[in-house]
């Protein structure tokens, strides 16, 4: 970390790269707020699921209905037929408060990121796959590198490869909107104003089941994301996302 202090002022090539940061301040701040909210949503979401770890399809579902599937775990409510003889403590009060508060913060943060990303052309410049990226050869070579767990070259610390671009766009423009939508589609008051939001999903229990799978997809993304950060160099990638400084050749290990 100490290396960041010894940037040679005279070396124009290096100072050119260190003058601009790897990630803009807005990207860094929204990234970490989203991280914090995601953990809050995950923990509280798990707690809420524990009160009824059964999932259904359609409008309704309860202890008397055959579930689509159930999670092999005890519940925090006595009546739920889980197969376990004990009942976990009820944590739904604070979990629901925290879940919806974190949802508000992440939605506002996401909107800020979206507006800034559009106005600074961040999506177009950094996330939209470049024309050449979309050729089958480029795509398969990026995939092969990933599958071999190859460490990225230095130049790649400054941009995203095609798989990263597709993954990030998928999370930002598909998974996040869907998880917000299916969350809202469970709210009895929200759907009273916008009934189509739940009707097109096939019902309120379908929305709940989809919300669960979308959360799992986001969790999977998070795990892969963290593994990739570790493989690419935990210290340098964390520094880039915290301070904005990317690794220069001076800091290569």
């Amino acid at each position: 970390m100490g290396n960041s202090a010894c940037i040679p002022v005279s070396a124009s090539a290096v100072s050119a790269t260190t003058a601009t940061s790897r990630h803009s301040a807005l990207v860094r701040i929204t990234h970490w707020i989203t991280t914090l909210c995601f953990f809050a949503l995950l923990v509280s979401g798990v707690e809420i699921v524990i009160s009824h770890p059964r999932f259904y399809w359609g409008e309704t579902g309860n202890d008397l209905t055959r579930p689509l599937f159930k999670l092999p775990m005890p519940a925090s409510r006595k009546l739920v037929p889980t197969g376990y003889t004990y009942v976990l403590p009820d944590q739904n009060g604070w979990s629901r408060y925290l879940h919806f508060q974190a949802a508000w913060v992440v939605v506002i943060t996401g909107l800020l990121y979206l507006i800034s990303g559009l106005s600074t052309r961040h999506f177009r410049k950094n996330l939209l796959p470049r024309g050449a990226d979309l050729s089958w050869r480029e795509f398969s070579s990026a995939m092969a590198k990933h599958l071999r767990f190859e460490r990225p070259r230095e130049a790649e610390a400054w941009s995203y490869n095609v798989l990263q671009r597709i993954a990030y766009l998928f999370v930002i423009f598909i998974l996040f909107p869907l998880v917000i939508w299916t969350g809202l589609a469970m709210s009895p008051a929200f759907v009273s104003a916008f009934p189509a939001t739940v009707d097109v999903l096939g019902g309120q229990q379908s929305a709940r089941t989809l919300h669960f799978f979308l959360s799992l997809a986001l969790l999977l993304f998070l795990l892969v994301h963290v593994v990739m950060v570790c493989l690419a160099g935990f210290k340098s990638r964390m520094r880039a996302m915290i301070t904005g400084r990317a690794a220069t050749h001076l800091e290569r290990t």
Partner: protein, 257 residues
């Protein structure tokens, strides 16, 4: 974060930031004033979850003041409807049950011109209304039933709600079981004093003989074994001032989500 404060911090940038910050602070102040003025602040707005709770309540009040909960067709009614666990009935409840609930009363007082008390037969003498709506528990399960009752607004009309009223607090015969709603929910046409379900009297397991039905809010606001309503302009005098037994147990006062 050093690039947030670049060395060439120009005067113009400083002034712009200052104006933006001042606008932000006064904007928040104005928002807080407007929220209070138009009743967009829930009683549980304090504490670490107050922000999210206020945003949810304010947003849903702006969006859903006059919206109707979805109604379903008869074929979508859940058979059988799932009755959640209830506390063992009190001796008083058993006595009323033995008498066929003929002595069951619903009293209405507080900020009303004519405090009143209604028997079940008197409530049933109002033109009956039905709704086929979903009961959604905060735990995640749900069922659809046909509910029969009298809209709460009709009973409140008879009692004559005073103009300064802001909330209706409602109590169960069960000890420490009470909740409250704002006037938007209290006067909503789908808010029922429910005495019938799926063509029969409301079963005890579902809160019979009388339950408040509030299809735009989750289960715990739909208090069972209803005996008493108080109309008020403030929730401060009730319990801890959070507006219900559920908020005192850590659950949100507004349960539209």
């Amino acid at each position: 974060m050093s690039d947030l404060l670049p060395s060439k911090l120009s005067r113009r940038k400083l002034i712009t930031t200052g104006i933006a910050a001042a606008a932000g602070v006064s904007g928040l102040g104005a928002a807080a004033y407007i929220a209070q003025r138009y009743g967009l602040v829930p009683p549980d707005d304090g504490g670490i979850y107050g922000l999210g709770e206020t945003l949810t309540y304010a947003a849903q009040r702006l969006l859903t003041k006059h919206s109707f909960a979805r109604e379903f067709s008869r074929s979508q009614i859940s058979k059988p409807p799932f009755a959640n666990e209830i506390e063992p009935p009190s001796d008083e409840f058993k006595r009323l049950q033995a008498g066929g609930f003929t002595e069951w009363r619903l009293s209405v007082n507080g900020m009303v011109a004519r405090p009143a008390s209604f028997s079940l037969d008197q409530l049933k003498s109002f033109p009956p209304h039905t709704q086929i709506t979903m009961l959604q528990c905060e735990e995640g399960w749900s069922y659809i039933a046909e509910w029969v009752g009298v809209p709460l607004s009709q009973v409140l009309d008879v009692a004559g709600v005073l103009p300064q009223a802001r909330y209706v607090v409602y109590f169960s015969i069960e000890p420490d079981t009470w909740e409250s709603i704002d006037m938007a929910d209290a006067l909503h046409p789908q808010t029922f004093l429910t005495y019938g379900m799926n063509g029969d009297n409301l079963p005890v397991g579902h809160g019979g003989p009388l339950r408040l039905r509030l299809p735009r809010q989750v289960g715990y606001k739909n208090v069972k074994f209803l005996t008493h309503l108080t109309v008020t302009d403030s929730l401060k005098g009730f319990g801890k001032g959070l507006g219900g037994a559920s908020p005192e147990a850590g659950y949100a006062w507004y349960a539209g989500i």
